[in-house]
């Protein structure tokens, strides 16, 4: 089978799975609704509870989950390949810690300024992630020759712990309910309640995916080593810059939308590699699609498993992701 046909087949299989999940997920929930009633346009909107549950409660949630899941999984693939480190996640380079600090400041100082109907928490978290990206990028490119992936990793990890310390400090100064809210934000929450935050995050994510689309061949070469890639005509520094900036920007936007949902960025890429091999022309689209489906399913569990109580989705992804990741580690060694 030619490589093109293989890619097309695998990607269409994953597409079918993902589309099926996204179509099915809004029809299930803690309450049962009648779909024919939900789509009955002759009923006045204000009287149609089923339609509101479908369009106001579930659909934005499913869309947010698929967007966040796809982004984190794809960013994980890109960063793992670029850093040549299987343990890299979208959060390794400090983006999520910056986002968390921003969100925390918005919660604790009760900033009320919102832009275009998006509240201050997601905006501040996006600003925080941009600050983190800026700092890490400046540090890594301060070396004479290009972008050092080692410095990138070390700067990211250090920034993560530095920001975590700042987060704890800010939390320590805050009052009790605010701290609780801030901690809750860290567990991830996809109950966005309207389409506005999704529309706000989407442009950044779409732009990043446009960059991802031209990366796979380069990532294949980069994962063999910078010298090999350079010998094959890859502009190493430029590609690394593109990969880092696009993956980080997308991660920042995703985190501001759904909170730092853990484990997606590391499990999904590895799982997909186990299933389809390591060619990034397949892995990247497959992981994107699978990430979307996976987070939508995790969120479905989060909102139904203990209904009417709701579990934070980050708990579900970590509960499933943790054991899986350990199994993977043992198996690989």
């Amino acid at each position: 089978m030619s490589i093109r046909r293989r890619i097309a087949m695998i990607v269409s299989l994953f597409s079918v799975l993902t589309v099926a999940v996204i179509v099915w997920a809004p029809t299930v929930g803690s309450t049962s609704i009648s779909l024919s009633r939900a789509f009955n346009t002759s009923l006045p909107w204000a009287d149609n509870v089923d339609a509101q549950i479908f369009f106001v409660a579930r659909l934005p949630r499913v869309l947010a989950a698929s967007l966040v899941g796809a982004t984190l999984a794809a960013a994980g693939v890109v960063l793992q390949a670029m850093l040549r480190n299987p343990l890299a996640t979208p959060f390794t380079l400090g983006v999520s810690a910056g986002a968390a600090l921003g969100a925390m400041l918005a919660v604790i100082f009760q900033l009320e300024v919102g832009i275009l109907g998006i509240s201050s928490v997601p905006i501040m978290s996006f600003v925080g992630s941009l600050a983190a990206i800026g700092i890490v990028y400046a540090l890594a490119s301060s070396q004479k020759r290009g972008l050092s992936t080692n410095v990138l990793l070390l700067a990211g990890v250090t920034l993560n712990s530095f920001f975590s310390a700042l987060i704890l400090f800010v939390q320590y100064l805050a009052d009790f309910t605010q701290s609780l809210r801030a901690v809750r934000w860290l567990m991830g929450d996809l109950d966005v309640g309207s389409y506005r935050p999704i529309i706000g995050a989407a442009p950044f994510i779409v732009a990043a995916f446009a960059v991802f689309a031209i990366l796979p061949r380069t990532l294949n070469l980069l994962s063999m080593g910078e010298d090999v890639a350079a010998a094959r005509g890859v502009e190493v520094v430029r590609s690394q810059r593109l990969a880092f900036l696009s993956a980080s920007l997308a991660t920042g936007a995703a985190v501001s939308l759904g909170g730092p949902v853990g484990f997606i960025g590391i499990i999904v890429p590895h799982l997909v590699r186990l299933l389809v091999g390591s060619d990034h022309r397949v892995v990247l689209p497959a992981a994107t699609l699978f990430g979307a489906a996976f987070l939508v399913l995790c969120d479905l569990l989060a909102r139904t498993i203990m209904a009417p109580l709701e579990l934070p989705v980050g708990i579900i992804t970590a509960l499933i992701g943790g054991p899986f990741f350990l199994w993977l580690l043992v198996k690989k060694s």
Binding site: T31, A57, Y172, F176
Partner: protein, 295 residues
């Protein structure tokens, strides 16, 4: 055989003597504590501080937690940390003879035990627990009569509200005490237990989340749409809220058009610092809620 019996008798006598000794020392300890009214109270729990002032034990309070603001008299007192970060050293240097701690502050409690400083362990409970705490602290601080008066006055006010709303239709109410401003995210509401639930009950409303056996629950949008509350009552812990801010908070709910509370314009924001404090201001909170539910 005879020797064995003798040994046994000695053992029994020793046992009796020993328990007698413990009994006597226990009684003398209790009498001792009872006789000595605490004169230097440190309170680490803000709502209990309010209770202490309400039962006339205010003059005995020498230090409070860093979150204490009410009554205004406490603002001049030294602050000695709070729930998670009690400043044990400062507490000890103040030489208190009673420390009000929260039930979960076990480290502090064991340190106080080691320093032979009596403490009172408090935990939030239901509405009746507020009055019970008043009476208990009255006995502990030597203000039995004042505490009884304050507790009965609160009970009478609550009973008056109950009497006023009795027989009226009880609106199914979502009692929100926390929400990400301007959005419908991170909504926390009172559930089937605790003083907020009881306050709503006394004010003549039925909690839509009553079957959840917890003090609070995160209410998802789907959940709110399904439960379809008649009234959404939002508690805002602030001194005041501008008209524009109030309007903005109320209109955050407008996308849930099918919820009766939204449709019938019965989303009500109650503003007040004391609304969520289980202390002597609880009757005011209940009266405000009742006024909102049964205008």
């Amino acid at each position: 055989m005879a020797t064995g019996q003798k040994v046994l008798t000695t053992k029994v006598t020793k046992g009796i003597l020993l328990s007698l000794f413990f009994f006597v020392s226990f009684v003398s300890f209790v009498v001792d504590v009872g006789a000595q009214q605490p004169k230097r109270i440190v309170s680490l729990v803000p709502n209990v501080t309010e209770i202490l002032y309400a039962i006339g034990a205010g003059p005995q309070v020498v230090a409070v937690s860093s979150y204490d603001e009410e009554p205004p008299a406490v603002r001049a007192l030294p602050k000695v940390g709070a729930l998670l970060d009690p400043d044990t050293e400062r507490i000890l240097t103040l030489r208190p003879d009673l420390v009000i701690t929260y039930g979960s502050q076990v480290d502090l409690q064991s340190q106080l035990t080691r320093a032979s400083i009596p403490f009172f362990s408090y935990r939030h409970g239901d509405l009746a627990h507020i009055m019970a705490t008043m009476r208990e602290l009255g006995a502990r601080t030597g203000h039995v009569a004042d505490a009884e008066r304050a507790a009965s006055a609160l009970e009478a006010r609550i009973a008056a509200v109950r009497a006023r709303v009795k027989g009226r239709p009880r609106p199914r109410t979502l009692l929100v005490f926390e929400r990400q401003s301007g959005t419908l995210q991170n909504i926390y509401a009172s559930a089937g237990r605790g003083f907020l639930h009881d306050m709503l009950d006394a004010a003549g409303g039925d909690d839509v989340l009553a079957e959840i056996e917890k003090e609070s629950a995160q209410a998802s949008i789907e959940n709110i749409l399904t439960r379809a509350p008649d009234v959404i009552l939002e508690l805002r812990s602030a001194d005041r809220l501008s008209a524009a801010a109030m309007q903005r908070e109320v209109s955050s709910w407008s996308s849930l058009a099918s919820v009766p509370a939204v449709r019938n314009h019965r989303v009500i924001v109650l503003v007040g610092k004391g609304l969520t404090v289980p202390g002597p201001r609880v009757a005011e909170g209940i009266e405000q809620m009742a006024k909102a539910l049964h205008p």
